[in-house]
């Protein structure tokens, strides 16, 4: 995985987001085993404690689970992944709508624009 960080926000939140994105977009597959905390921390260039915190957070949300001796895995529950995918999409869209509202662009105009762009593409 490629990791990129914005220095103005907590690292663990950004780790959670990037893992979530990788899982819902299929970069990391359902049931896939993750590297150890230490190796992941090294890969991302972050503190192992921070990585641990992010992974615990993702376990709480149900995207990851730990098998006591075997390690940490991505959930096999595809419904759960789909649910979080929907949630993420909803969140992004509402952010986008907010930005558009700040620019003074109405939802109808956005719809028209989307339709136009779709036509141009095809």
């Amino acid at each position: 995985m490629r990791w990129e960080f914005d220095n103005t926000r907590p690292v663990y939140i950004q780790l959670c987001e990037q893992f979530t994105n990788a899982i819902i977009s299929g970069v990391i597959k359902p049931g896939e085993k993750l590297l150890s905390v230490r190796d992941l921390a090294k890969e991302a260039g972050v503190n192992p404690n921070t990585m641990q915190k992010a992974l615990s957070e993702l376990e709480r949300s149900g995207l990851l689970y730990t098998q006591r001796t075997a390690g940490r895995f991505v959930t096999e529950n595809e419904e759960k992944i789909k649910e979080i995918k929907q949630e993420t999409a909803r969140l992004r869209v509402s952010q986008f709508l907010n930005e558009m509202a700040q620019l003074g662009i109405q939802p109808q105009e956005i719809e028209a624009l989307l339709a136009k762009m779709k036509k141009e593409e095809s």
Partner: protein
């Protein structure tokens, strides 16, 4: 958890000048803590006291329950801001020296790191570039299985690639029961690996907090926050 390091009202004066002024904080095991401050803020003074190289004027410092001294040197690994090694020595000489000096020195680990860097054990310090010499110092420091690592400006004059290597080495070689206190003024480069930040200003501790908490409350990088704090 019992703190690995406890400083209470730690003070160091040189005549009327207060190099460290009533500094109190604790560090728990398993933490990487950034000691941040401009030149002359007291970073090196604090590390030297903890390393047992300098005597405090008043207050107390306890490292795993002991005052800095001969005993603590056996489990505190200190990387000073200036080289203290003899330039004629070869890497193999340095490894032998450290093996004799420190019971917790892991020779195999040091040899492994030197190999990764493509350093020959026959190479003399004198013949190495500044960046290489800094890496050698870091290898020696991080190859000890210490409880507390004190790193004074480990990423000072090195290029970005060497900096990445050094930070990587710190991350990989740090075990869960040990803590690292790392001083630097290049905050942007290290803030991603820090658990906590301590800001020193004119010998005083002005802030000690988890990095993620600082970002959460101030919505800015520790680097930006630092600049703000020092401007005022």
């Amino acid at each position: 958890m019992t703190p690995i390091l406890t400083c209470e009202h730690l003070t160091k004066t040189y005549g009327v000048f207060r190099a460290l002024d009533d500094v109190s904080f604790t560090i728990e095991p398993g933490k990487i803590v950034g000691l941040l401050g401009e030149n002359g803020a007291g970073k090196s003074t604090l590390l030297k006291i903890l390393a047992g190289m300098l005597t405090k004027t008043s207050g107390s410092a306890q490292i795993d329950g002991n005052e800095p001294g001969v005993l603590t040197k056996s489990y505190v690994s200190y990387l000073p801001d200036k080289s203290y090694l003899q330039e004629w020595m070869k890497l193999s000489d340095l490894f032998a020296l450290f093996s004799r000096f420190f019971a917790d020195f892991d020779l195999q680990k040091a040899q492994g790191m030197a190999k990764d860097l493509g350093l020959s054990e026959k190479a003399r310090l004198k013949a190495m570039s500044k960046g290489m010499q800094e890496k050698v110092h870091l290898i020696l420091t991080m190859s000890r299985h210490a409880k507390l690592y004190l790193l004074d400006e480990p990423i000072g004059g090195v290029d970005p690639a060497a900096r990445d290597y050094i930070l990587d080495t710190i991350l990989t070689n740090f075990n869960e029961d040990a803590s690292i206190l790392i001083s630097t003024h290049m905050i942007a480069d290290v803030e991603q690996i820090l658990d906590e930040a301590i800001f020193l200003k004119q010998g005083k501790l002005i802030l000690h907090a988890p990095v993620d908490e600082l970002r959460e409350t101030h919505h800015q990088s520790v680097d930006a926050l630092f600049r703000e704090v020092y401007r005022s």
